[in-house]
């Protein structure tokens, strides 16, 4: 029989379906009969849903010019790593 403390500690594993079936069944039973643990379970589930929903709304697009600035930084590094170039022969 799981205690409330054990249920709370395992809530994330339960939500991620990352536990053995017999413990899943015990968790289910406990959450079904304990209103406090059920509220913990419901609010944690909703928290995850909320921020996942929020993050799928706003795409994280690279700002304009970001790629070009990265290329420039890498080109400078290439020049540095190759050392000073000999003067061009005329």
């Amino acid at each position: 029989m799981l205690t409330c403390k054990e249920v709370l500690e395992s809530l994330s594993d339960y939500l991620d379906a990352d536990m053995k079936e017999d413990i899943v069944n015990e968790m289910k039973r406990h959450i079904g009969s304990c209103s406090d643990c059920r509220a913990e379970f419901d609010t944690l589930t909703m928290t995850i849903k909320l921020y996942k929903h929020e993050h799928t709304q706003g795409a994280q697009v690279m700002p304009v010019g970001c790629h070009d600035r990265l290329v420039k930084v890498l080109e400078l590094e290439k020049m540095k790593s190759k050392g000073p170039q000999p003067p061009k022969m005329v």
Partner: protein
């Protein structure tokens, strides 16, 4: 023509083929930027992390042994770079050892009924952003990789060089911290009414 695999591009990059490295940059820059932005939560810092990540990759590609995939390697560099930046800025975060989580349930108010879209007001989004920003950097790394980028525990463990148990523990504590913040928001503000939300 077949598209080159990451492994082929890495091999060519090790032989100073700069076009191959350029292809790796094109392939991963958006993902690295997106991951960085979610960790540092500021476009300027995210761009610095992006540049730092590819600079380090460029300098280190010859010593990259291929024990992990290129993607794991580049995300590890990104996560480390973001962590260093967060530590340098020393944003006011909660200590990683701060055990604010409860061990037993304490009659928490249930604000969950209703569709996600209905709960997700601008004010709540702001509250959630602040809650994520207040996470200790080590928690935020795990949280972003697991719950936002939706990587597996094993992948996150490999990227952050942690045990799977440590990833799971940090993830759980991070989720609780965000949830507790939202619970505070709902108890201070208009709690969604079951009757209104579920009315037919």
């Amino acid at each position: 023509m077949a598209i080159a695999t990451d492994e082929e591009l890495v091999r060519k990059s090790k032989e100073d083929d700069e076009r191959a490295f350029g292809e790796l940059v094109s392939r991963y820059e958006s993902k690295v930027y997106s991951l960085a932005l979610r960790m540092v939560r500021n476009p300027e810092d995210a761009e610095d992390v992006l540049q730092d990540t590819f600079l380090r990759a460029y300098r280190g590609i010859k010593s990259f042994q291929g024990a992990s995939t290129f993607s794991t390697w580049i995300y590890r560099i990104t996560a480390n770079s973001a962590l260093m930046r967060l530590r340098k800025k020393q944003l006011p975060t909660v200590s990683i050892d701060d055990a604010e989580e409860r061990e037993t349930p304490v009659n928490i108010a249930d604000w969950t009924p209703g569709p996600v879209e209905q709960l997700l007001s601008q004010e709540l989004q702001h509250e959630m952003d602040e809650a994520i920003e207040a996470l200790p950097p080590e928690f935020r790394q795990v949280f972003v990789l697991r719950d936002v980028e939706e990587m597996s525990n094993a992948e996150v463990a490999e990227i952050l060089d942690l045990s799977v148990a440590a990833v799971k523990s940090r993830l759980h504590r991070a989720r609780l911290k965000v949830r507790n913040r939202l619970a505070g928001y709902f108890s201070d503000n208009a709690k969604p009414k079951r009757s209104a939300m579920g009315a037919h």
